[in-house]
């Protein structure tokens, strides 16, 4: 599409609901703007390629997480974030907000990424380490290691680590 073809790669290292957004938003948008895009999923980012996504947010260790509530922005005291069920409740709130504000779900963005030919690479080492099989992952992905990513990154104009 573009006269001067630029490209982008992102190393995806985090798999919580909130952290899943930046790589998928940037990847789909860049691809829509004509850039070839590669995502390399490693460590806790790898589960974002699982067929069945069960994404959650956690308030623990995330002190800046404030949600709009009753006309204010409210966060949780650190101690409360460890109470069982709090992450699940925060995740439900976050998903409700996402829907209400017309923000795409991660599933929706990931489907679009597949459709728009974003190249997605699952890190082989992480698959071994955390015992995931290719059958657990969505179709159409590649499997590779550090060298596969580096080869791609040397050619890309934008390389991000998220």
């Amino acid at each position: 599409m573009s006269a001067e073809e630029k490209s982008m790669s992102i190393i995806v290292t985090k798999g919580s609901l909130d952290w899943a957004y930046p790589p998928f938003i940037l990847a789909t948008t860049a691809a829509a703007m004509g850039l070839p895009v590669t995502l390399f999923f490693t460590f806790y980012g790898l589960p974002l390629l699982l067929k069945d996504l069960k994404l959650q947010v956690t308030a623990s260790g995330n002190p800046a997480m404030k949600m709009p509530m009753m006309g204010m922005h409210m966060g949780l005291p650190n101690l409360l974030t460890a109470v069982p069920g709090v992450d699940a409740a925060c995740s439900v709130m976050m998903k409700n907000l996402i829907k209400k504000k017309g923000v795409a779900s991660i599933e929706e963005l990931r489907d679009m990424a597949v459709e728009i030919d974003v190249r997605m690479i699952a890190c082989q080492m992480t698959m071994d380490l955390f015992e995931y099989d290719k059958e657990d992952m969505i179709d159409g992905i590649d499997i590779g290691g550090a060298a596969t990513y580096i080869e791609c990154a040397t050619k890309a104009d934008i390389n991000l680590f998220i």
Binding site: S2, A32, M33, K101, V103, I116
Partner: protein, 75 residues
């Protein structure tokens, strides 16, 4: 009159851009796509999208919280 219209009202970033790109695929070269959106971020984003892809942003306007963009498919 545009050749096609995309209703992206109520959708948030990056959905208006992603849906516009998809809708543009069905527009002939030289044809136009009208996009209606409520995301204020879409103003800057459609300008950037058009600069990057080479498509032409012919018009953009706002009326009562609804943003209207008219894109001519060039690339």
């Amino acid at each position: 009159m545009a050749d096609a219209t995309l209703d992206a009202k109520g959708l948030n970033c990056p959905l208006p851009i992603l849906k516009a790109r998809k809708a543009l695929k069905d527009v002939n070269d030289g044809g136009t796509l009208e996009i209606l959106a409520t995301d204020p971020g879409a103003i800057a984003d459609f300008q950037a999208f058009c600069r990057q892809t080479g498509n032409e942003l012919m018009e953009h306007s706002e009326d009562d919280g609804i943003y209207r963009f008219l894109i001519k498919k060039v690339a």
